[in-house]
Every structure is written in structure tokens, then in C-alpha cells.
């Protein structure tokens, strides 16, 4: 396939993300990477579960966590997962404008989530003096949730870069795989969050 065909395809194929060899490589490679990420987060979850009772003082999960904020965060992130699905839907229909719109909404929701998380951390630190260094539980909590937050941040930067870089030239076979795997990444972040709100917050509240 010539460069011209990749950058200015005459007709978009059904699955533009997998139309080129490079695209197929990215697609498979990224999924494999997510397999590795699964182990990464499992190790963090394991560490958290091993240390969530290693509290010092009264800063226990039950004492600290409030569910309303977590609920809002969950709704934001779950919805952003749907909006990124919409974006890919429009990508497959070769509707670049709509795709950008939905990606934009995804980014806004993600930012909302991140804001809430920062507020939450700030709240724990200032109101409860519960920090990364307070106890083994504190270290494990901030590390697990913080790694996830870091992923959210990276995802936001990534999607935004893609949007800006390609805003002028539209969809092609070179950038379609990039958009596609960015959306995979975003879904994966959501998957991790589902376990975080379940294991850290809900189970923490149950005690």
C-alpha cells in the first residue's frame, strides 16, 4: 500500500483500524499490553488487600471513605466509556466530526473524574491527615488509586493529542488504529475502576 493510500484512502474500509499491517500490529500489540497491565493492577490490588487492615490510628477504610463522591466518579467514568464507544462507532461510519465530538465529551467526563479524585485525596489529607506516609494502608491506598488516576491522566493526554494532531486532516488508515487503541485503553481504565470502587470503597465500607 502506498503512502498516499494510507494517508488519503479513497474509501474507508469497514475496519479502518485493521486495514494496514501496522494497524493490525498495533491492535494486537495493544491488547497484549493490556494483558500485562492486568497483572500490574492485580499486583497492586493484591498489595492493597494485604495491607488494607494495616492502619494506624483511626484512619481506617470505613472511617475515611464516603460513597457519594465515589458514586459520582463511577458514573462519570462509566458514561465516558459509553461515549468513547460512540466515538468508535462514528469512526467506523467514517464520520470524523462526530467522532471528535464524542471524544471531546469523553475527555470532559474524564477530567471531571480526575478532578473529583484530586478533591478526594485533598480532602483525606487536609481533613484526616491521612497521607501516603500515614500507614501501610495509606501507602497501598494512594498507590493503587493513584496508579489508576495516573492512567486516567495519561489517557486524557493521549486522546487530546490525537484529537489536536488530526483535527485538520480527518480520518485515515494511519491514525484510525491510534484512535482505536486509545479507546481500548480508556475502556481498560474503566475496567480497573470497576474493581477499585468495588474492592476499595464498597468492600472497605462493608468492613
Amino acid at each position: 500500500m502506498s503512502h498516499e493510500d494510507v494517508l488519503n484512502p479513497k474509501e474507508m474500509p469497514r475496519e479502518p483500524e485493521k486495514a494496514t499491517l501496522e494497524g493490525r500490529n498495533k491492535f494486537i500489540g495493544f491488547w497484549f499490553f493490556l494483558g500485562g497491565e492486568t497483572v500490574l493492577f492485580a499486583s497492586l490490588f493484591g498489595t492493597y488487600l494485604a495491607l488494607n487492615e494495616s492502619t494506624v490510628g483511626e484512619n481506617t477504610p470505613e472511617h475515611l471513605f464516603g460513597l457519594d463522591l465515589v458514586f459520582i466518579m463511577t458514573m462519570l467514568l462509566l458514561t465516558s466509556s459509553l461515549t468513547s464507544v460512540y466515538a468508535i462507532y462514528h469512526m467506523k461510519n467514517n464520520d470524523f466530526g462526530r467522532m471528535l465530538t464524542w471524544l471531546f465529551i469523553t475527555v470532559v467526563l474524564g477530567l471531571g473524574f480526575l478532578g473529583c479524585e484530586l478533591y478526594e485525596f485533598h480532602h483525606y489529607i487536609t481533613e484526616y491527615e491521612f497521607t501516603f506516609r500515614s500507614s501501610a494502608f495509606g501507602s497501598a491506598f494512594y498507590t493503587l488509586v493513584g496508579f489508576h488516576g495516573g492512567h486516567v491522566l495519561f489517557g486524557l493526554l493521549w486522546i487530546t493529542t490525537l484529537m489536536i494532531r488530526n483535527s485538520k486532516r480527518g480520518l485515515n488508515l494511519y491514525n484510525a488504529p491510534k484512535f482505536y487503541i486509545a479507546s481500548l485503553y480508556w475502556h481498560f481504565i474503566d475496567v480497573v475502576w470497576v474493581f477499585i470502587f468495588t474492592v476499595v470503597y464498597l468492600m472497605g465500607k462493608v468492613g
Binding site: L7, L21, I28, G29, S43, T47, A50, R133, A136, T143
Partner: protein
């Protein structure tokens, strides 16, 4: 394009070429040279260890320095010598064996190398900045978290950077093997080395994240006062041990499996016979990889996990003897009825069988959980793992290097010198490590700076040290061989060994697009099939056409350099906050390169068919 530059200028251009290359064959050179260099470093550290232990109550080096020496020896050998040499072989052979022009992610391939390289350099800089890591290559907390100075900080950061490179390399090979096979190269026609690389890469994918997390926790504890391993604040030191071994055990199979694959190719080539029990060999490789994830706690039998956990892990560990045995017997029966030619590559491979079998057997003995209460952390274990690592990985590396040297560098290593290097190394190896089993049982713990007189350990240690000198001599002769060959030996043909697999169907070294026309694979040992039908080379699967190749890039180098700089920032910010600047600069460089990479389209270039060499590549 990259070759054009190299042709034009002198040394500078050649260096620039290697700094920017994304060609898997050149990346193989980079891996081999740096891995080889670190092997010599690790070997010299081993010599210092053996000199210190040559006699009782010796004082050749101080106790603290000894701990640094053994830590750096283990870490260097595993992460900076064995792993890169394996990646060198994978880069040199896998794309060629599957009939691909390139790997799936040439850019990431280069990034993987440079991350490993800078991680390794960072780790070794610790020698000059007030002390290397000294808590063993296993780096158990809280010895590591409380170790004074910055040695252990170098360990965490250096391995984190190098480990990221390894993970990237692993994913690259997985995708290459899944997506880039030539027409007709089905999974069950892949050479065993490619299969082993595939399984190894899978192990890397699942094992390294555990190390990543472990290193992050260690880093947070040491540099940011977290409390993961601080029992006073509710931390738990056993977490590190599990994370380390969840990574660490698969790691030893990551080391050995590619060489198992290489041995399979070598045995069948030099016996002029098809590999005996191909499908059983594939199955065994996969099974070893699979079981490799369920046995890590056999390193922790004495930690106090209780008899139930110990028993489960003991039995699971023993199970690995079965697929490994399948391999040993299939190799023997590959040679059975063959026409065995004892080249240097074959010599190393033949020597591997009894050596590794002994190592595997002591492994099974260690797996007997209760008995490990005696063996654990003694020289019995040191004997075991050097038998499998040196007798398996190092012998395998030497065999593969002899085997693929013509493909990598266009010349056959001198056979006489090859055999001359083998014998002292082989004899020295058994002298050094066989006696260590007995030393262990007679009461010598490992990681001992010195042992006392009167415990019956003197002669054994002396013999062991003598053996190490013989290994030194062997390695030295090998180095001479490399120089001699590059000066004196004639250029090799494309197929010097009467090979069976695709890499031997093209010239040595191959053109940078590998195959002018992608070959059509018609079965296992595709080149052999064509040869038995009287053809000279492979039948092409496509007409001659333009070839798409990736562009070289300096970004992987710069990106890794950024992390390297930031690494110092992380290490020294504990002393002065002004070092935070280094973190920002370094991360800025790295993130900047990433941004550049994603903003700048890089779709590669084409080689026009008029510029290709004639024919499908058979020389």
C-alpha cells in the same frame, strides 16, 4: 536510507547509524555487544567472589564490598547479560525464521534496547557514586529498604528502566510472531527457536509487571517514605518476596526457553535430521511456560508459609520435570540415527545435555519442600542454578552465537579456536559448581563473605575457585576467536551449515530488507524441503515489488536518555530538593520525544524494486 548514510561517512556515521537504527539485525548487534560486555563485567565480579573464597578467613575484599559484588554479579548476569544476549538472538533469528522483512514494531524494538542499555549503565554507575546495591539480586526487604547509601536506589531505578525495555521487547516479538509470518508459515511449522521466543515473550508479558510493581513499592519506600515494607507502620516484608518471585521464577524460564529452542534447531541441523517429536516439543515448551507461573513460592519454603502452601508448591514444581524431560529425550532421539557433525555449536549443545540434566535434577531435589529446609540459601542452591544457568543458558548462548554468527556478521567463527575455548570452560564449569553442592550440604550458606577454618570447607572452595579460572581462560579464548575471525576468516556463504530453516535461504549477512521476495513456506524446515527437491532456494510467494521499510529514528535513544537523567533525579532528590530539577528535565526530554513521535507522521520509506538484488535471495 540508513545504509546509505553508513556508506558515506566514517566512524561517526556508523555510530549515528547504530544510534538511530530500527533494523532488527543491527539491534541484534547492539544487544549482543552490550550483553557480551556485561557478561564480562559479571564474570569479573564472579572472579573476585571466587578469589575471596579461595581460602578460609580470607580478606581479599571487605565484607560490605563482597555483598555489593555478589549482588551486582547476580543482577548483572541475569538482567544485563543473559536477557540481552537472548534478545540479540531473537532479533537476529526470529524475523528471518518466519520469513519477515522486519519486526512488528521497529521503533519500539529500538526503544526496548536503549531502555535496557541506559538502565544497565545506570545500575553500574553506582560503583562510582559511593556503593553498589548490596542486598542480593533478590533485594529482600527490609535489608534493602534500610540499606544505607544509594546502592539499592540504583537497583530499583536501573531495573525499572531496563525492565520497561524488556517488556516492550517482549510485546514486539509476540506481535511479530503472530502477525508477520510468511505465507504458509503456520504455527505448527515454526522453528522451535521461534516457538520458544513466542512462549518466552508471553512469560515476559506476564512476569515483568509484577517486578515493575515490586520496584515501584521499593522505590516509594526508599525515596518517598511509604510504608509497604515498614513493619512499624503495619507494612509486610513478605509482599516483596512474593512479587519478586512471581516475576523471578518465570524469569528463569524466560532465560532458558529461547536456548532450548536454539538447541532444538542446532541438534536437528547438525544431525541432519528433522527434530524428533516436533509437536511434543512445542507442547512441552508451552507447558513449561504455563507451569512456570505456579511454582514461584518454591524459593520461599523457609519463609514460613505453612505446610499446605509448601506442599502445593513443591508438587507443582516437580511437575515441571516432566515437560523438561520430554525435551531432553526428544533431543537425544533427534541425534539417534542421525549423522552428527561436531562443530563448535554442536559441541556446546552436546555438553549442555548432561550439564543441564544435573542442574534440573538438583532442582527437583530442591523442590522437595522439607529437604529444602536444608538446601535453601546454601551453596547447594548456588550449585543448582549455575548448573542450569551456565550449563543451560551460557552453553546455549555460546552454541547459538557460533551457530548464528555467520548470519549476524557474515563470517564463520574459527572452529579450532571455538573448540579450544570450549574445553577449559567446560571443565572449569564442572569443577566450579559440582563441588558447590557438597559445600552446601556440608554447612556452607550462600552469600558468605568468608568461611571459617575447621569446618571442612577449604578444599572444596579451592577447587571451585580453580574452576572459575578455567572458565576465565575459556571465555578469553572465545574473545580471541572473535577478533581472529573478524580479521582472518573468509566471508561465509548464505548457508554454511546446510541449514533447514528460512534464515539460511538468504545471504550472510542478509540485506536490510531480508527477503527480496517473501518466501512461500511449504512445511516444517522449509529450506530443507526445497533442497531435497533439488531447488537452490525458496520459492517466492509474491512477485518482485517495492518494499516498505521503517525510517531510522534517534527518538528511542533520546527518550531513554531522558529516563536515565530523571533516574538520577529520583535517586538524589532525597538529599536535596534541587535534584527534582533533574526529574523534570529528564521526564521533559522523554515526554517531549513521545510527543514528537506522535505528532510527526512516520510512515517509512520504500525500496524500489529496481534497487533490489536479483532473485529471491538465495545468495
Amino acid at each position: 536510507m540508513s545504509t546509505a548514510v553508513a556508506q558515506k561517512g566514517g566512524l561517526g556515521a556508523a555510530i549515528w547509524d547504530y544510534l538511530t537504527t530500527v533494523d532488527h539485525k543491527k539491534i541484534a548487534h547492539l544487544y549482543l555487544v552490550s550483553g557480551g560486555f556485561f557478561f564480562l563485567m559479571g564474570g569479573i565480579e564472579a572472579m573476585i567472589i571466587r578469589i575471596q573464597l579461595i581460602k578460609p578467613d580470607n580478606n581479599f575484599i571487605a565484607a560490605g564490598l563482597y555483598n555489593e559484588m555478589l549482588t551486582m554479579h547476580g543482577t548483572t548476569m541475569i538482567f544485563l547479560a543473559a536477557m540481552p544476549i537472548i534478545f540479540a538472538l531473537m532479533n537476529a533469528a526470529v524475523p528471518l525464521q518466519i520469513g519477515a522483512r522486519d519486526v512488528a514494531f521497529p521503533f519500539l524494538n529500538s526503544l526496548g534496547f536503549w531502555l535496557f542499555f541506559f538502565g544497565g549503565v545506570l545500575l553500574n554507575i553506582s560503583w562510582f557514586t559511593g556503593g553498589a546495591p548490596d542486598a542480593g539480586w533478590t533485594n529482600y526487604a527490609p535489608l534493602s529498604t534500610t540499606s544505607p547509601g544509594h546502592g539499592v536506589d540504583y537497583y530499583t531505578i536501573g531495573l525499572q528502566i531496563a525492565g520497561a525495555g524488556t517488556l516492550i521487547g517482549g510485546i514486539n516479538f509476540l506481535v511479530t510472531i503472530v502477525n508477520m509470518r510468511a505465507p504458509g508459515m503456520s504455527y505448527m511449522r515454526m522453528p522451535l527457536f521461534t516457538w520458544a521466543s513466542f512462549v518466552t515473550s508471553t512469560l515476559i508479558l506476564f512476569a515483568f509487571p509484577a517486578l515493575t510493581v515490586g520496584l515501584f513499592l521499593m522505590m516509594f519506600d526508599r525515596m518517598f517514605d511509604a510504608a509497604f515494607f515498614d513493619v512499624a507502620q503495619g507494612g509486610n516484608v513478605i509482599i516483596w518476596e512474593h512479587l519478586f518471585w512471581i516475576f523471578g521464577h518465570p524469569e528463569v524460564y524466560i532465560l532458558i526457553l529461547p536456548l532450548f529452542g536454539a538447541f532444538s534447531d542446532i541438534f536437528s541441523t547438525f544431525s541432519k535430521k528433522r527434530l524428533f517429536g516436533y509437536s511434543a516439543m512445542v507442547f512441552a515448551t508451552v507447558l513449561i511456560g504455563f507451569l512456570g507461573f505456579m511454582v514461584w513460592a518454591h524459593h520461599m519454603f523457609t519463609v514460613g508459609m505453612g505446610p499446605i502452601a509448601n506442599s502445593i508448591f513443591a508438587v507443582a514444581t516437580m511437575a515441571i520435570a516432566v515437560p523438561t524431560g520430554i525435551k531432553i529425550f526428544n533431543w537425544l532421539f533427534t541425534m539417534w540415527g542421525g549423522n552428527i557433525k561436531m562443530t563448535s555449536a554442536m559441541l556446546w549443545s552436546v555438553a549442555f545435555i548432561p550439564s543441564f540434566t544435573i542442574g534440573g535434577m538438583t532442582g527437583v531435589m530442591l523442590a522437595a519442600a522439607a529437604a529444602d529446609y536444608q538446601y535453601h540459601d546454601t551453596y547447594f542452591v548456588v550449585g543448582h542454578f549455575h548448573y542450569v544457568i551456565v550449563g543451560g543458558v551460557v552453553f546455549g548462548a555460546f552454541a547459538s552465537i557460533h551457530y548464528w554468527w555467520p548470519k549476524m556478521f557474515g563470517k564463520v567463527l574459527n572452529e579450532k579456536l571455538g573448540k579450544l575455548a570450549f574445553w577449559p570452560f567446560f571443565v572449569g564449569f564442572h569443577l566450579t559448581f559440582f563441588i558447590q553442592h557438597f559445600l552446601g550440604l556440608m554447612g556452607m550458606p550462600r552469600r558468605y563473605w568468608t568461611f571459617h577454618e575447621g569446618l571442612g570447607l577449604d578444599t572444596g572452595n579451592l577447587i571451585s575457585s580453580i574452576g572459575a579460572f578455567l572458565m576465565f581462560i575459556g571465555t578469553f579464548i572465545f574473545l580471541i576467536n572473535v577478533i581472529y575471525t573478524s580479521v582472518k576468516e573468509p566471508k561465509a556463504s548464505g548457508d554454511p551449515w546446510d541449514g533447514r530453516t528460512l534464515e539460511w535461504s538468504i545471504s550472510s549477512p542478509p540485506p536490510h530488507y531480508n527477503f527480496a521476495q517473501t518466501p512461500l513456506v511449504r512445511g516444517l524446515d522449509p529450506l530443507w524441503i526445497e533442497k531435497t527437491e533439488g531447488k537452490k532456494g525458496m520459492t517466492p510467494a509474491e512477485p518482485l515489488g517495492d518494499i516498505h521499510m521503517p525510517n531510522p529514528s534517534i527518538l528511542p535513544f533520546v527518550m531513554s536518555l531522558g529516563f536515565f537523567i530523571a533516574g538520577f533525579g529520583f535517586i538524589y532528590q532525597t538529599e536535596s530538593k534541587s535534584f527534582l530539577a533533574l526529574i523534570f528535565i529528564g521526564m521533559g526530554i522523554s515526554l517531549g520525544s513521545m510527543l514528537t513521535r506522535s505528532l510527526k507522521d512516520d510512515i517509512g520509506h520504500h525500496i524500489h524494486k529496481e534497487d533490489l538484488k536479483e532473485g529471491a535471495g538465495s545468495e
